[in-house]
């Protein structure tokens, strides 16, 4: 059964179809949340919240847009809210959270790989740039889909993406030079 059919049945009140639809999107939701928020625990909380909101607002989805872009919009909004609330907190707590994340197995794998620098560099990007990078490279969204998901103009999306990549290039170049971080 395709995504469009599941969405239609779920909007008609089919609980099983809705649950199946949620199971099909839960990984992408968690992935975006993880790379936007930077840690597993926040990603789990944000992704669960996003899934509940999708379950509750499924009747508001309109077939004009792509279901994946509608889901990533919800996830990005939840992550933006959490990111802003966490940014308002004390900076010392952020460092403690970063240190705590190092204990995770997945983080250890990332640390051992080259992508660790990229992940660290992504976390240093502004939230708008970070979201655009995640949607572009982790959700394989086009400029237009990113624009629809983030409800931003297309040129703004390009700008954010170009600037985000340029910043990441600079950051990664610095890592290669002397390991600034």
């Amino acid at each position: 059964m395709g995504e469009a059919e599941l969405v239609r049945r779920a909007q008609a009140g089919d609980h099983d179809a809705l649950v199946e639809l949620l199971r099909s999107i839960e990984t992408s939701v968690y992935r975006s949340a993880f790379y936007i928020l930077g840690n597993e625990q926040d990603a789990l909380d944000a992704s669960q919240e996003a899934l509940i909101r999708i379950y509750q607002k499924i009747h508001l989805f309109q077939e004009k847009a792509k279901f994946s872009t509608w889901v990533q919009r919800i996830v990005s909004n939840i992550c933006m809210d959490r990111f802003r609330s966490r940014k308002d907190a004390v900076s010392l707590e952020e460092h403690q959270l970063v240190l705590a994340d190092k204990n995770n197995v997945e983080d250890e794998i990332l640390l051992t790989s080259l992508s660790n620098d990229v992940h660290s560099a992504i976390q240093k990007l502004p939230e708008q740039y970070r979201t655009v990078i995640v949607l572009r490279y982790l959700q394989d969204f086009s400029y237009q889909e990113i624009a629809e998901a983030l409800e931003l103009p297309l040129n703004t999306v390009k700008s954010y993406l170009f600037r985000a990549r340029q910043q990441l290039q600079e950051l990664l170049h610095d890592y290669e030079k002397g390991g600034v971080g």
Partner: protein, 384 residues
């Protein structure tokens, strides 16, 4: 570095350049080695971003949120049954409230029943206390004093017919009960008709004294009595002794009727003397009760006496009415039934004896009544 070249590089990384734009970018890269370095760094970063691990959640997020979804969402079909349980829980207090309201109604009804029983018990006790103290009798006397006033007044006149009463009083008091003629009749029974003839002149001056007052009371009564006096004056000439007694009875009945009418008029006019008579009559009835409040036997006796007096008065009035209706038959009756007349005379003697006994019990109070009666006659005569 030109922004247009940087845009071409970024768009090339995203695969957004057309073939012409790609040729244009390649030309620029060949001409500038620094631009080639930047392009290679960005392409490397993009490759690194594309190679980011496709992580997945450590557990099923949907299975984790399903209990929460089913518990919170009432629209889902699977959540309907679990949400009815709290409704049932909410229904219990409503039932309790209903039971409490019913209990409240019941308690209110029980309270009313208790209050009613209490009020009834209190009223019964009060009534018993009232009767035991004789206040019920007092009330009866009060009520009887308001209604049948002429009878009580006539009793007062009978009481006033004692030896201490004056001449004018004797003329009036002889009418209702005829105590003195009965005494004369007792003599007639013992001695003969001559003594009765002697009593008739005694009654004549009384009646002649009463006649001047009769026009003052009213013409019809004043006219009726002289005719009877004339007939009575002729009858002794015939030599029939009992005619005088019947005549005196008629005269006394007529006088009593007149007196009752006068007293009724006085009562209606609210005369002062009548009020005093009421008080004195009440005192007569109350006096034995007040002396012995707890003596129910005396009360009964007094009631019996009052009833006897009433019956006697009624009998007398009936007789008088019969006599008045049949004025010519009295001679026949006297001629035919001498025994019936003797029985009537015996009854009258008994009644007079009872009256005398009552007079003996209450003699002194009557003086006040006599004075009041005079006032009454004066007031009534003055008005008429």
């Amino acid at each position: 570095m030109n922004d247009e070249v940087m845009e071409l590089i970024q768009r090339d990384l995203d695969g957004d350049l057309s073939a012409r734009e790609k040729q244009q970018l390649h030309l620029l890269l060949r001409q500038d080695p620094d631009l080639q370095l930047v392009y290679s760094r960005l392409k490397r970063v993009s490759a690194q971003l594309a190679e980011l691990p496709r992580i997945s959640p450590p557990f099923s997020l949907v299975d984790a949120i399903l209990p929460q979804i089913t518990a919170d969402d009432p629209s889902s079909p699977g959540t309907v049954q679990p949400e009815r349980k709290p409704e049932d829980v909410h229904l219990q207090p409503k039932q309790i409230e209903a039971v409490a309201s019913v209990h409240h109604r019941r308690s209110y009804g029980v309270w009313l029943a208790k209050a009613g029983t209490g009020v009834m018990a209190a009223s019964l006790l009060f009534g018993l206390f009232w009767l035991s103290n004789g206040w019920g009798q007092w009330d009866r006397n009060q009520e009887s004093g308001a209604g049948p006033q002429p009878r009580i007044v006539s009793q007062g006149q009978v009481n006033a017919a004692g030896p201490e009463s004056g001449e004018s009083e004797n003329t009036e008091t002889a009418a209702p009960k005829m105590p003195e003629p009965t005494v004369a009749e007792d003599n007639t029974d013992a001695s003969g008709q001559k003594q009765q003839m002697e009593t008739s002149p005694e009654s004549k001056p009384e009646q002649s004294q009463s006649t001047p007052a009769q026009p003052a009371h009213g013409e019809p009564t004043g006219k009726g009595t002289p005719d009877r006096h004339q007939s009575a004056s002729q009858r002794p000439e015939d030599g029939k002794s009992q005619a005088s007694a019947s005549k005196t009875g008629k005269a006394s009945a007529a006088a009593s009727d007149e007196y009752r009418q006068n007293n009724r008029g006085a009562v209606r006019q609210g005369a002062f003397g009548v009020l005093k008579e009421r008080e004195t009559d009440e005192e007569k009835h109350e006096s034995p009760l007040r002396r012995n409040p707890a003596a129910g036997n005396q009360d009964k006796q007094a009631q019996k006496r009052a009833e006897k007096d009433k019956k006697e008065e009624e009998k007398q009035t009936k007789k008088q009415e019969k006599d008045d209706q049949k004025p010519g038959t009295w001679q026949k009756q006297t001629g035919k039934g001498g025994e019936s007349d003797s029985r009537k005379q015996d009854d009258e003697r008994d009644e007079d004896r009872d009256d005398d006994d009552e007079d003996e019990k209450r003699p002194k109070v009557n003086l006040h009544i006599e004075i009041d009666v005079e006032k009454l006659f004066r007031t009534v005569g003055g008005k008429d």
